[in-house]
Amino acid sequence: MPIKSYLVHPKQGKKGEVANALSNMDQCEVIAAKNEELLVLVTETYSEKEEELLREQLQQFRDIKLMALVSGFNTPKNT
C-alpha cells in the first residue's frame, strides 16, 4: 500500500493545467503552492505494481518539467 510524495515542477505557465490533470487521477492528491510554480503531489496506490504503472503514466505528462520523489511510505499492515 505505497504512499509517496513528490515535488512537481510544471513547465512555465502550466501549473493550473498540471494540477487539474493530476487531481483528476484517482490515486493522486495535489496541493498547489500559492506563490511559486510548484505542486506537492501525494500518490496512494494499493500495490507496488499499481504504483509502478502510475509512475510511468506520470512520466508521460509533457507539461511536467521535473518530478522529484520526497518520501515513500509503505503500509502493509494496519490500513
Partner: protein, 776 residues
C-alpha cells in the same frame, strides 16, 4: 498548523508525506505558501490571537506563531519574520502545540506514601521538598543534595537553580542533560578558543560553497536548517558532503556520502590536515599571526570506573613537531583503518584546501557523543584554522545543538558543576563576581566542582548523594548503562523529586512529582545554537496546579530561608531574573540584549553591543570585542591566538570482538523529540513512528535470515533487548553495525549501552559499543 483528527494510520502517513514534501519545497523556495494546507486546521471564523515564540523542540530555534482562542492554543505556523526558519517548520514544529494537550498531563502534585502516589496540594508538596532538602543537608552535608536539569530549562529556570544550589546552599551539585549532548562542544571550544559557542551563525549557510556534515544526520535532526542547505544548492550549486558511519536521509540528499569506520574520524581529520600542509594549502599568514600549536595527554582512559578523574596538561609544540606528528596520518596510512579510500580523503581535503571555496563544517551528536569527542572537535577546528577558514561569512566550523536552550541555559547560565554564569567556580575572581550579584557571602560558593552527570548518578547509587531534584528531563531513558542508575535511584534512603509535564520512566522513581507549566503556559527565554536569545510570553494558563520550574525553585528557596536572594515579585519575576542575569555577562564579549528588544523581535544574537548583534565573533570587521588591531582576535585566549591541537587517533572504549562482533550506535528519528515524552503524546507523530527498531545492513540481515519486522536480540556485556528489524528502510548502517533509536521507553536501548565518556568533557559515547546480534 492545525489540530485535526485522523481516522486511521494511512491518513497519518499521508499527512507525513505532505509535510515532508512541503518542508522540502520550503527549502527550495523560502516563503513558499501552501495556503489551503497550511490553514486547513484553523476553524472557520476563528478569531485567533497570534503571538511569537521559539519552537519548544530542538536547538535550531525556529520562530513560530501560536494562534490562541478562548485560552487554548489551536494553531501554529512558522514565523516569516524569523531569520532562523523564514516561515518554515518541521513536522514536529507544526504539531508542537498538541504536546500540551496529552490526556495524561500531570496536573496535581503527587507524593509517594506507602508505595502509592497520593495527590496533594502544591503548597504541601513544596513544603515537603524544602524540608527534605534541609533534612538531607543536616544529616549528610550540603553535597548530598543535587539538581539535574536540562537544555530545555528556560534561562530563568537554570539561573535560579544555579543561584539556589551554588550560591545559597553552597554545593556544586548542579548538572544538566546537556552534559550528555553538548559538553564536548564546550570543551572543544574552550580548548581551541578559550570561549564557548560558535563564532559564526546560520547566515553562514548563505555564503558557504561546501558543507561537510561530520556524522550529522541533519535531514532528520535539523530539517529546517538542512532545507536551507538544499535551497543554496538549488540557487548556487553548493556541495553537500555527508561524512558518516551510516546511510541516512541526509545521505540521500547529499552530493557525496563517505562512510567511515566508527571512531576513525580522528584519523581522517588528521589526514586532511596532513594533506593541507603537504599540498601547500595552509594559510601560512593566518596561522603565523593567529595560532599556537599544542599537545595534550594521551591514553586517558574512558571513565568506566567510579571516581575517575582526568585533567589535561597542555604543552606548547612547534609547527615542525606538529608536522612530524602528522606523518602517521598520510591518506594511505589512514585509509585501511578508516575504510575511507585515499581518493575520498584527498577529495575532502581538497574542498578545505581550495582557497576559492568557503567551507562550513556542521556536526552534532556524532562528534560530541564520542569517547575522544573533545579531540575530534579540536581536529575540525584545526582544519579551519590551518586554512584560515573561520570567523568570516561562509567559513564556519559550526556545532549544532539538540535542545532549545542547551546553549542559552546550560552553557551560558552555566548549569554544570564547574560553571558559573560568568566563568568557573575554581576562579576566585569569578566566584567574587557571582557572589556580589547573587548577594551571598563569597565563601558560599565552593571552589571545587563535584560530580559531572555520569558520576552524579554513580554518587546517587553509592549513597554519596541522597537527594536529587530532576527538572524537565528524562534520565531514566537517556542515561547510558541505564540499569545501574535506575537501580541506584530506587535504593533505600534516596529522595527523588521530579518536575515534569507527563509521567515518564523518571517520574516512576520519584518520591514527589511536581506538575510543571510547559513552554507558553509560562513566560521564559531560550538560547539557540547560533547564540540567539529568544523571549516568549505566557499565552495560556497551565493546567491544574502546574507551576513553572522557575517558580517551583523560587518557592523552595524561600522556604529554605533565602527570601533575600529570591526577592522576585510574582508578576515581574522573569524580567527581574533576566535583568539580574544580564549583569553576569556585561561587556563586549557576551553582552545580552535587553528584554524589551527580545520582546519586539525574533531574538538577538549575543554579544549584543550598542544596539547591534554580533554575527561573526573574533573577526575585527564584525566583532567590537576585538582589540588587538589585527583582522582577527581570538580574545578567549590570553595571547589572542587560537590553538591547533596535536590529537592522535585512539580506539573506542569497547570495540567489536569475537563474542560481540557488531558495533551498536544509538540516535534519534525525525518524528520524535529525544525520549518522546511529548511527541509520543501527539497522535500523528506517535502513529508515524510507534516504536523503536534495529537497523541492520542488508547483507548481515540476509546472512542471518532476518527480514523487516522480525524480532532481533541484541546482547552486550550489560544485558539484552529484543527489537523489530528494519532492513533497507529509512537508514542503512554499514556492515557489522546496527543502529537503534532511543526514544522508546518500552524498548530501552540504554539498558545495554556503555557509560564510557570523553575524559575531558565527561560526555558519554552513545555511538559505540560492542554487541551480539541474533534473530530472536
Amino acid at each position: 498548523m492545525y489540530q485535526s483528527v485522523f481516522t486511521n494510520r494511512r491518513e497519518f502517513i499521508k499527512k507525513m508525506a505532505v509535510l515532508s514534501a512541503m518542508t522540502a519545497a520550503a527549502g527550495m523556495f523560502p516563503g513558499i505558501i501552501f495556503a489551503e494546507e497550511q490553514e486547513k486546521g484553523i476553524p472557520d471564523g476563528a478569531n485567533l490571537d497570534w503571538k511569537k515564540a521559539p519552537c519548544r523542540f530542538c536547538g535550531v530555534g525556529c520562530g513560530v506563531l501560536i494562534g490562541t482562542e478562548n485560552g487554548k492554543a489551536i494553531a501554529v505556523k512558522g514565523d516569516p519574520k524569523s531569520p532562523v526558519n523564514k516561515g518554515l517548520c518541521c513536522v514536529k514544529g507544526y504539531h508542537s502545540i498538541m504536546a500540551m494537550y496529552g490526556k495524561d498531563r500531570l496536573k496535581k502534585p503527587l507524593v509517594k506514601k506507602n508505595g502509592r502516589y497520593v495527590e496533594t496540594s502544591m503548597k504541601e508538596a513544596l513544603d515537603l521538598v524544602a524540608s527534605k532538602m534541609q533534612e538531607t543537608i543536616k544529616e549528610h552535608g550540603k553535597d548530598a543534595v543535587s539538581i539535574y536539569g536540562s537544555g530545555q530549562w528556560t534561562i530563568p529556570d537554570g539561573y535560579v537553580a544555579s543561584k539556589l544550589f551554588k550560591g545559597c546552599i553552597g554545593t556544586n551539585n548542579v548538572e544538566a542533560n546537556a552534559r550528555l549532548c553538548m559538553a564536548t562542544a564546550v570543551t572543544g571550544f574552550l580548548s581551541s578558543f578559550g570561549l564557548d559557542e560558535p563564532m559564526g551563525c546560520y547566515e553562514d549557510i548563505d555564503y558557504a560553497d561546501t558543507f561537510v556534515l561530520w556524522g550529522n544526520n541533519m535531514a532528520e535532526m535539523h530539517p529546517v536548517l538542512f532545507s536551507r542547505l538544499l535551497d543554496q544548492r538549488l540557487k548556487r550549486g553548493v556541495k553537500i558532503i555527508d561524512f558518516a558511519t551510516r546511510t541516512t536521509r541526509t545521505s540521500m540528499a547529499a552530493d557525496k556520502t563517505i562512510i567511515f569506520n566508527p571512531q576513525t574520524d580522528l584519523a581522517v581529520a588528521n589526514a586532511i590536515c596532513y594533506e593541507i600542509i603537504n599540498n601547500g594549502w595552509m594559510n601560512t599568514a593566518f596561522v603565523e599571526e593567529h595560532c599556537n600549536f599544542s599537545k595534550g595527554l594521551t591514553n586517558m582512559g574512558y571513565g568506566l570506573e567510579d571516581h575517575y578523574k582526568f585533567t589535561d596538561r597542555p604543552e606548547a609544540i612547534s609547527f615542525e613537531e606538529y608536522k612530524a606528528f602528522l606523518e602517521d596520518y598520510t591518506p594511505e596510512k589512514v585509509s585501511g583503518l578508516s575504510g575511507v579510500s585515499v581518493k575520498d580523503i584527498k577529495y575532502l581535503a581538497a574542498h578545505f584546501g581550495d582557497p576559492n571555496k568557503k567551507v562550513m563544517s556542521l556536526w552534532c551528536m556524532g562528534m560530541n557523543q564520542h569517547s575522544r569527542g573533545t579531540w575530534i572537535n579540536n581536529l575540525v577546528y584545526n582544519i579551519h584554522l590551518l586554512t584560515g577558514k573561520i570567523s568570516s561569512p561562509g567559513n564556519s566550523p559550526f556545532s549544532l545543538t539538540g535542545q532549545p536552550s542547551a546553549c542559552g541555559t546550560v552553557r551560558e547560565v552555566g548549569t554544570l558543576t564547574h560553571k558559573l554564569p560568568h566563568g568557573v567556580v575554581a576562579n576566585k575572581e569569578h566566584r567574587e563576581f557571582a557572589a556580589k550579584i547573587w548577594d551571598v557571602p563569597v565563601e558560599n560558593i565552593d571552589p571545587k566542582p563535584t560530580y559531572h552527570t555520569v558520576e552524579m548518578f554513580r554518587a546517587l547509587d553509592r549513597g554519596d548523594i541522597r537527594f536529587m531534584w530532576i527538572q524537565v528531563t528524562n534520565p531514566m531513558v537517556t542515561m547510558p548503562k541505564l540499569k545501574r542508575y535506575r537501580d541506584g535511584a530506587k535504593k533505600e534512603g534516596r529522595f527523588i523529586v521530579v518536575s515534569d509535564v507527563y509521567p515518564t520512566p523518571t517520574t516512576d522513581i520519584a518520591d514527589v512529582i511536581l506538575p510543571s507549566a510547559m513552554w507558553v503556559e509560562r513566560e521564559g527565554l531560550y538560547g539557540n545554537s547560533e547564540r540567539r536569545t529568544q523571549y516568549f510570553e505566557q499565552m495560556l494558563e497551565p493546567p491544574g496546579e502546574a507551576l513553572s520550574d522557575t517558580v517551583q525553585l523560587i518557592e523552595v528557596a524561600k522556604r529554605m530561608g533565602f527570601e533575600k536572594q529570591f526577592y522576585y515579585k510574582d508578576e515581574t519575576h522573569i524580567e527581574e531574573i533576566y535583568s539580574e542575569y544580564r549583569r553576569h555577562h556585561e561587556g563586549k564579549k557576551h553582552n545580552m540584549a535587553p528584554l524589551e528588544v527580545l520582546k519586539n523581535q525574533p531574538g538577538a544574537m549575543w554579544p549584543y553591543v550598542d544596539g547591534k548583534e554580533t554575527k561573526w565573533r573574533f573577526n575585527a570587521k564584525y566583532d567590537p570585542a576585538c582589540t588587538n588591531g589585527k583582522d582577527f582576535h581570538f580574545y578567549g585566549k590570553k595571547d589572542g591566538r587560537a590553538v591547533i591541537w596535536q590529537r592522535p587517533y585512539e580506539p573506542a572504549a569497547e570495540e567489536p570482538d569475537a563474542d560481540y562482533p557488531f558495533w551498536l550506535g544509538t540516535g534519534r528519528v525525525v518524528e520524535h523529540w529525544h525520549t518522546g515524552s511529548m511527541t509520543r503524546r501527539i497522535p500523528v507523530l506517535h502513529q508515524a513512528m510507534p516504536h523503536a527498531y534495529v537497523e541492520l545492513h542488508p547483507e548481515d540481515a540476509e546472512r542471518m535470515q532476518i527480514r523487516t519486522g522480525d524480532m532481533v536480540k541484541l546482547t552486550t556485556r550489560r544485558g539484552e533487548i529484543s527489537l523489530p528489524a528494519s532492513v533497507n528502510q529509512r537508514g542503512v548502517p554499514a556492515p557489522r553495525q546496527v543502529f537503534v533509536p532511543f526514544f522508546d521507553e518500552q524498548m530501552l536501548i540504554n539498558d545495554i549501552t556503555l557509560d564510557s565518556f570523553c575524559p575531558i568533557s565527561k560526555e558519554p559515547d552513545y555511538k559505540k559499543c560492542a554487541v551480539k546480534v541474533e534473530k530472536a
